[in-house]
């Protein structure tokens, strides 16, 4: 489940030839995107329905290209602020799968020791910062982290993830404004999945694109096909070059669609008929697989093997998580303060 594990040599036409870097990248992306899809399916469609996960469940089905295409470019000094539909960021950063399931199941081996559920998790040792429910709240925090990285003379960039709905919030604007005034090294990564819970874009904002907000902050903004992992990856490179060279923040608007309700209890009846079918044709995993086959980067058998291997990893991780105990109620009062 680590990046090393995921790296597979690309198809070689001759044994002596070096692996095609594009093919190698494709395999890595496919692994993490499929892992995210399968983990979230297991969480939403099995563990949640079995009552093994008692709290809210929010998945990024159909949006996997965005966390994968961005986070694969993150270095150790970069600090990431994944949103609730960016599960793959945790895998790429090296969080063990079992701990993710334990987190969702409220077990002591979850990243928050049972204090929090679902994607509300982080690990400062991995430069991963947890969201709070008011999602745009991490935007000014990312700005401050970026200012600190620059002050410390580090090369790091803050990856600030959020959805279209977050851009309606005051702290989004405050954070972006501070970051741009300070020319802080931040890349703002919007997954525009067109719905904020049940509220469609036209009731969230009067402009056509989130990227339209960029010029107001004198910030370059790019619209990206969020269902094409290569497009996301290439755009992220441009954004990182910009931010790392001291030019300030860069906004990526990754257009996508939320192929699910807001949460596991939301059947999304408000989404007009046909939209799921239309966007289903643009599934980022299916598109990547087609590209890999087309370019001869993989065979169908190899693609099938990826999914089979992942399901086995998930089985093992879930079994591990289920063995993790629930937190002891006697720990309730711990860790409110350092001295407790």
């Amino acid at each position: 489940m680590s990046a090393v594990h995921a790296t597979r040599p690309g198809k070689r036409t001759k044994d002596t030839e070096a692996p095609d870097p594009q093919a190698e990248l494709a395999h890595k992306c496919l692994y993490y995107m499929t892992l995210m899809r399968e983990v979230e399916d297991r969480i939403e469609r099995k563990l949640y329905r079995q009552g093994k996960i008692v709290g809210g469940v929010y998945v990024g089905r159909g949006q996997e290209a965005i966390p994968v295409g961005t986070a694969l470019l993150a270095g150790p000094d970069d600090v990431l602020f994944p949103c609730h539909r960016d599960m793959a960021v945790f895998f790429i950063r090296g969080v063990p799968l079992g701990r993710i399931f334990a987190q969702y199941m409220g077990r002591v081996d979850g990243l928050t020791r049972g204090r929090e559920g679902n994607m509300h998790m982080g690990d400062l040792k991995l430069n991963l910062v947890s969201i709070v429910s008011a999602l745009a709240a991490t935007v000014p925090v990312a700005a401050g982290a970026a200012m600190a990285l620059r002050y410390q003379g580090k090369d790091g960039v803050a990856f600030s993830y959020f959805g279209d709905g977050s851009t309606s919030r005051g702290d989004w604007h405050e954070g972006v404004n501070l970051a741009t005034v300070q020319k802080a090294p931040v890349i703002f990564i919007c997954n525009n999945n067109q719905y904020a819970y049940s509220t469609p874009l036209n009731l969230q904002m009067a402009c056509a694109n989130v990227a339209d907000r960029g010029p107001a902050y004198n910030m370059p903004a790019e619209i990206v096909d969020g269902n094409d992992v290569f497009a996301v990856y290439e755009a992220t490179k441009r954004a990182l070059d910009h931010a790392r060279s001291g030019k300030g923040p860069y906004l990526l608007e990754c257009k996508t669609f939320r192929m699910t309700g807001h949460s596991a209890h939301d059947a999304a009846h408000y989404v007009p008929a046909g939209m799921f079918d239309e966007w289903g044709k643009l599934d980022p995993i299916v598109r990547l697989q087609a590209r890999m086959l087309e370019n001869g980067w993989a065979t169908q058998e190899e693609l099938d093997a990826v999914r089979a291997r992942i399901r086995q990893e998930i089985d093992e991780a879930v079994a591990w998580a289920e063995k993790s105990p629930y937190p002891d109620p006697s720990t309730l009062l711990e860790d409110v303060y350092e001295s407790q």
Binding site: P140, A143, M147, A148, N177, V336
Partner: protein, 323 residues
């Protein structure tokens, strides 16, 4: 040489910045202008604009950025120009900073300075005492010094603390009080109240600017023969209930005074703590003198009527003493 309350805060900030390059300041008008009250005058010239950051008018971004910088190992001190504006950064403080350690073991070593308090004819938006919003939030520490000594010692402790500290500094005390401070480094512990005047007949428990009102009342009642003990809470969260209860055990009578408004104020919280732990020592009702439940009015006669003062406190204190 005597040091004012304001100078004490300035010295504390300055010395911490000299001591630790991770300490930096951010806020509105704190750099070139030196801060609305000139607490940070001269800082940008000495420490440079990387460590004294003039921000947009943007409290949520100021607090949020402080949190983010704290995650990266820095020790930010964020200034709210007036405590009244802290509500604009409220979510960042109560939902982000306060809960990170408990939720995911992430320390938030930030200080939010909040110049608070009335008596300067500032009106509803430059006079408030919003400490109880934060005292209700586990994970925060809330301090409110009354003396120059404590102001300097507590700002240093706040900066060195690995949890988020809201530092209420009373504007009315900035230039009004001064004292000789020790040379060299010292700190005042967070979470410890202080008996600032010993007495046996009655305890007045208070904090911030009202400590000086309580001391004035104690002096006056001494002339009438009463021995009044004054307890300065200094830290409001975590609350030093033990020191308060020890004082009650000694005097058996307690009057609470705060400049904050009445309902759900510190007096109510302490009253229940006292009845829970030292009820049998009480020899009279627990009383309070507070501001009424109104916004802080501007016009002098109205503001004078709003604020607790020695006349209001002495009346209640005398009644309780004689009870």
């Amino acid at each position: 040489m005597s040091t004012t309350y304001l100078e004490a805060i300035r010295e504390g900030l300055w010395e911490e910045m000299e001591r630790d390059p991770n300490v930096f300041l951010l806020g509105e008008d704190i750099g070139v202008y030196g801060g609305a009250f000139k607490v940070t005058a001269g800082f940008i010239e000495h420490f440079g604009e990387k460590r004294v950051v003039d921000t947009p008018i943007s409290e949520a971004a100021i607090v949020g950025a402080a949190i983010g910088a704290g995650f990266m190992g820095l020790r930010p001190v964020a200034e709210m120009q007036f405590a009244d504006f802290i509500s604009c950064g409220f979510d960042q403080i109560v939902n982000f900073a306060a809960k990170c350690r408990y939720r995911w073991n992430a320390p938030v070593p930030i200080v939010v300075r909040a110049p608070s308090g009335g008596g300067i004819h500032g009106g509803p938006y430059h006079s408030q005492n919003p400490e109880m919003w934060f005292v209700k939030t586990p994970g925060l520490k809330v301090v409110a010094p009354s003396t120059a000594y404590d102001a300097k010692g507590l700002i240093k402790s706040a900066i060195r603390d690995n949890d988020p500290v809201i530092f209420f500094e009373h504007k009315g005390l900035y230039r009004r009080i001064k004292e000789d401070l020790p040379t060299g480094d010292y700190t005042v512990p967070i979470g410890k109240a202080k008996v600032v005047r010993e007495g046996t007949d009655l305890s007045i428990v208070t904090y911030g600017a009202m400590v000086w009102v309580a001391l004035e009342v104690a002096d006056k009642l001494a002339e009438e023969g009463a021995s009044v003990e004054v307890v300065d809470l200094r830290t409001l969260l975590p609350l030093d209930r033990e020191t308060v209860c020890e004082s009650v055990k000694k005097t058996s009578k307690v009057l609470m005074v705060h400049e904050d408004t009445r309902t759900a104020g510190m007096a109510g919280e302490l009253a229940i703590s006292i009845t829970e732990t030292v009820f049998e020592y009480l020899d009279g009702p627990i009383l309070r003198v507070t501001a009424p439940d109104t916004p802080v009015p501007y016009s002098p006669p109205l503001e004078d009527a709003f604020l607790p003062n020695a006349d209001k406190v002495i009346e209640k204190a005398r009644w309780l003493w004689k009870y």
